[in-house]
């Protein structure tokens, strides 16, 4: 089974395909512009936003620096409240645990709340191999599942589809939809009809977790549609797969995150529904609760002292929505469950840069992601740090990638040249003479080799005959 994190195609190539899809560009442009404006409006309402961000960052920093202690505390709290706790080193282990629980209840079908952790481990495919069908209940996840596609956004997996495309999928896959219109409310109603009986009768539900509280063992799921409440409340058995970084220290800390998350993600003051549960509550909701604590590369990320901050992420998707690269290429180009700026750092951190070497370069380093991040992940800082890891990797495995090797030779040569005035001035003169063949009508319209990407749309002005320093010298001689 292919990994849900490792890109199959380098970003520039995958982006080229996506950029050629004009419908996709229109859908994405419209959606990202809409959500940006909504987020900005509700963030502007908060005069203590920066203080909240700082607390959100610091709390995650505290958790990560003492993660072992907090995980043990969480385990104890959940067990005290009547829940079972499992630990999973990787995708296979987590999937096996879920499958065993489902089988112990003879469940051939399970209902699922949208969860990135389960997408990351490809749980649906893993369960299918065990003869268990996982039914996605989030509207966008359902659309993607019915279309047989992958998510392109961490919050709105079907952001790349417009209403008429969604109507076509529903008409093909759902019963009694011949007269379905493309009005969003009608599309939502069709999903409601389709899933109603599943919610009422399925024995086992699977969820992810937005937060887990070490102090109390409380797990929190933030959602909009009510499919989360359905899954978390009605089936008698609940299995939650939670990344080990989703911890927060105390109940009180929700005062920070329940402000940061909704405003950053859907641009709402509060999302429609949030469920908080602590183990098992007698006579209310599932009477059997399992929490699976998932590593799957997170400890690898934790070991990177600069990259560690990527584990602060609360999956709000504000960085995707603001990103000028994501806005044009969409999520599929990143080739990972985690796309966009956060994906460009989190994916290589989880799987190792050698498995996703193009992702740290999938950014113009414009810094908009850092500015909107509610937990202050300095994404540009981590990007350049990971680029250095990529360079180190290529330098160490000389010849594995000829382009990368050629670049490395050029960059080393340039660095050598620029570190000394005489060499630098000589290079300036050489550039002036060397450009000769490329200059025509006072412009450079075609560049060779590594630089050809520049000249497809942009002219370059030739290197002028007199550099600034030449001018300065001549002026001071007068």
């Amino acid at each position: 089974m292919a990994s849900a994190l490792i890109p199959l195609i380098p970003f520039p190539e995958a982006a080229k395909t996506a950029l050629a899809d004009t419908q996709l560009r229109r859908n994405l442009g419209k959606a990202t512009q809409t959500i940006r404006a909504k987020r900005a409006a509700v963030v502007d309402e908060m005069d203590d936003w920066e203080e909240l961000r700082e607390a959100g960052r610091a709390l995650k920093d505290r958790v990560l620096r003492h993660l072992d202690q907090y995980l043990l505390q969480l385990e104890e709290s959940v067990q005290r409240a009547g829940g079972h706790v499992h630990w999973a080193r990787d995708a296979a282990e987590a999937t096996r645990i879920v499958a065993e629980i489902a089988k112990s209840h003879d469940a051939r079908e399970v209902v699922k709340v949208k969860s990135l952790a389960t997408d990351e481990i490809r749980l649906n495919d893993g369960l299918a191999a065990e003869g268990i069908q996982a039914i996605e209940t989030d509207l966008a996840e359902l659309i993607i599942q019915l279309a047989g596609e992958h998510s392109s956004h961490i919050l709105v997996p079907a952001i790349h589809k417009n209403r008429s495309e969604i109507r076509e999928i529903f008409r093909r896959k759902l019963a009694d939809t011949e007269d379905l219109t493309d009005i969003p409310a009608d599309l939502a109603a069709a999903a409601r009809r389709h899933l109603r009986q599943k919610f009422l009768t399925t024995k086992v539900a699977i969820s992810g977790a937005n937060f887990g509280v070490a102090e109390t063992g409380t797990i929190c799921v933030v959602e909009s549609e009510g499919n989360g409440r359905m899954c978390l409340t009605l089936p008698p058995v609940l299995v939650t797969v939670m990344g080990i970084e989703k911890l927060i220290p105390t109940w009180q800390d929700f005062e920070v995150y329940m402000q940061l998350l909704p405003r950053s993600s859907t641009g709402e003051r509060m999302n429609p529904y949030t469920t908080f549960w602590t183990g098992v509550a007698e006579g209310d909701g599932p009477q059997e609760f399992h929490l699976i604590l998932l590593d799957n590369g997170r400890t690898h990320t934790l070991a990177d002292q600069i990259g560690r901050q990527a584990l602060h992420c609360i999956r709000c998707s504000a960085c995707l929505n603001i990103c000028p690269v994501y806005e044009r290429t969409g999520g599929h180009a990143y080739g990972s469950v985690y796309p966009g700026p956060i994906g460009a750092i989190l994916t290589p951190l989880l799987v190792g840069v050698e498995h996703a070497p193009s992702l740290p370069y999938a950014s113009s380093l414009c810094g908009a992601c850092y500015e909107v991040c509610p937990v202050k992940i300095n994404i540009p800082e981590v990007l350049v740090h990971l680029r250095a890891e990529v360079v180190r990797h290529y330098q160490a495995t000389k010849g594995i990638n000829t382009y990368a090797y050629a670049e490395s030779v050029v960059m080393k040569m340039l660095a050598y040249t620029f570190a000394d005035r005489t060499r630098y001035e000589t290079a300036q003169k050489l550039a002036r003479f060397g450009q000769g063949p490329f200059v025509s009508e006072g412009k450079i319209g075609n560049l060779p080799g590594l630089l050809s990407g520049w000249s497809t749309m942009r002219d370059l002005r030739p290197v002028p005959q007199q550099s600034f320093r030449d001018w300065w010298r001549s002026r001071n001689e007068q």
């Binding site: 607390a55 505290r62 630990w87 209940t137 079907a158 209403r163 409310a185 009510g226 005062e255 429609p272």
Partner: protein, 226 residues
């Protein structure tokens, strides 16, 4: 197997954190809570904001004195032509509407209804634990007048009574007030902000997916004599 996975993960974490001084304690990592934790505005303003924000999230909202509450409940139910109204067992009898053709269905904790029976009702009437003005949020904690979670989820219509003195201004005040429900009583909580909605189609908010598609809220000023 599970315990070895646990040991392996804890070992990986401790190895990864080799840069953290062994003497450092969690509390040594400073947290500055410089954000607002309380709001001192006059309570009437807070209640006004709750109404405004809840309306903004497409809920139907009424604001009245306690004396008018029973009539309002009956009117709301009748306007929707409800036939089977679900209520928690401890709901005040004064709230219960009565008109021809209406059946009150009580969810008794000792004989809880099956999901299919809940699905056969067409509305639910409850109180709440508290409400948050800043965000237009109602909080349920399975406490008095609320029943278990399933009853406010399955019916398509939720009529919720919020006493004005249950409204807090900002999120941190709500989290503080809910602490004992969670820490001491281990109760599940539900935050409800408007009716069920989705933004999954072109990122436009559409009301009404799986949860109640209509949320109606009655904000009640408690009778001073009561």
């Amino acid at each position: 197997m599970s315990s070895s996975a646990k040991e392996a993960i804890l070992y990986r974490i401790r190895t990864a954190l080799h840069d953290v001084p062994p003497t450092e304690q969690p509390d040594d990592v400073a947290i500055t809570r410089a954000y607002r934790q309380q709001d001192d505005r006059p309570h009437a303003q807070v209640v006004e904001q709750f109404v405004e924000m809840t309306v903004d999230y497409k809920a139907i909202v009424h604001h009245m004195s306690e004396a008018d509450l029973p009539a309002r409940i009956a009117q709301s139910c009748q306007d929707r032509n409800l036939r089977r109204l679900l209520v928690p067992a401890d709901l005040p009898t004064a709230w219960l509407p009565a008109y021809e053709g209406l059946e009150i269905v009580t969810d008794d904790p000792s004989h809880p209804f099956a999901n299919a029976d809940l699905d056969a009702t067409d509305g639910v009437l409850t109180g709440c634990a508290l409400a948050i003005a800043q965000t237009g949020t109602i909080v349920l904690n399975s406490g008095p007048n609320q029943g278990r979670r399933a009853i406010t989820l399955i019916p398509d219509y939720h009529l919720c009574v919020v006493y004005a003195d249950q409204v807090v201004s900002i999120v941190p005040e709500a989290i503080a007030a809910l602490r004992s429900s969670v820490v001491e009583q281990g109760k599940p909580l539900t935050f409800i902000s408007g009716p069920s909605a989705t933004s999954d189609i072109e990122l436009n908010r559409v009301e009404g997916v799986h949860g109640p598609r209509t949320l109606e809220v009655i904000v009640v000023e408690r009778d001073p004599q009561g």
